[in-house]
Symmetry: C2
Subunit: 189 residues, 2 copies
């Protein structure tokens, strides 16, 4: 039997990951230590060390358990789809755990290679998905883009992210509409 199929192993693993996620959410990334995780998870300290000898990869994995906002498969009309998706992202960013993970990712990625890889992957998915959806929309005549489609993610998600993490307020529908309209000229629907 490989150890990673042992129910005891999996139970410990889940308890540890949950505890780490809760600690991150409640007290920040510095609270994710072997001792605190062990206490919260109701698991021996040695068990945490056995599963994750380093605290940092544990933090990385715990962060990965938080469902982050991504762009759903595009539908037509693209304008409505984008409005819906941005509204969903704004609502997600209003959740404490998503905000904690986002800002921790942006911050720790500056000094940690693993975190930076996660950041790059996350950013890349959003940028390419949105760019592809907008290129298609333009090919379909739905919009005349006012900027490179690769800039669309920054132009639309940027305001939601700034509103949530720097201004710490919810994004209003007017801000979302403004972001959607900033991408170019939408054909009259």
């Amino acid at each position: 039997m490989t150890s990673d199929a042992d129910p005891r192993f999996l139970r410990s693993r889940e308890a540890i990951l949950n505890a780490a996620r809760e600690l991150l959410l409640e007290s920040g990334p510095t609270a994710v230590t072997h001792v605190q995780v062990a206490e919260r998870a109701g698991v021996g300290r040695a068990t945490v060390y056995r599963h994750w000898p380093q605290a940092e990869p544990l933090l990385v994995e715990a962060m990965a358990t938080v469902p982050m906002p991504f762009l759903d498969k595009p539908t037509v009309p693209t304008r409505e789809w984008l409005r819906r998706e941005l509204t969903a992202i704004a609502r997600q960013l209003d959740l404490d755990d998503v905000r904690a993970v986002s800002t921790t990712l942006a911050n720790t990625a500056l000094w940690d290679e693993d975190m930076d890889a996660r950041r790059a992957q996350f950013a890349g998915i959003l940028t390419t998905r949105l760019a592809a959806a907008l290129d298609d929309a333009q090919a379909r005549g739905e919009i005349t883009l006012a900027l490179a489609s690769q800039d669309a993610a920054a132009m639309t998600i940027g305001p939601m992210y700034y509103r949530s993490t720097i201004e710490r307020a919810p994004a209003d529908p007017a801000l979302i509409d403004a972001a959607v309209n900033a991408l170019g000229t939408w054909a009259a629907g």
Copy 2:
């Protein structure tokens, strides 16, 4: 003589703040400990404890020594002023220390009251300055705003901030133009 005018006191204080800032920039907020700061500053460990009994207020003050991007006094035409200011902000955000301070502020503010106060102050200045400048511009007939002037900071600085901290790439002039144009309809200049 009050202690805070003693040259020895001021020298130590400066050396400590510089060391803390360097450590933050090079290795992140967790590196700002009494021991590491003392070593880097070339002062005794006890001296650091005397100046800052807690490491966290030291981090806060060290971050305050990094010149953050703010909006300069508005000039006319407002559109050109804004383009210039956003270009300056984008360039600033490309500097490692500004990025480190920004993301550390956004992250630690989630769990630390002092940091949150700094974040709120910083965000408030940008939001109100830009809103005032745009309200004036609209009164002058330079622009017809497409959103509440309080949303302008998120709409313009947001994309630069996202580009710098999440996508980790420089902001191109096209993105800046798109952000400026997103605010409303500018009168033909």
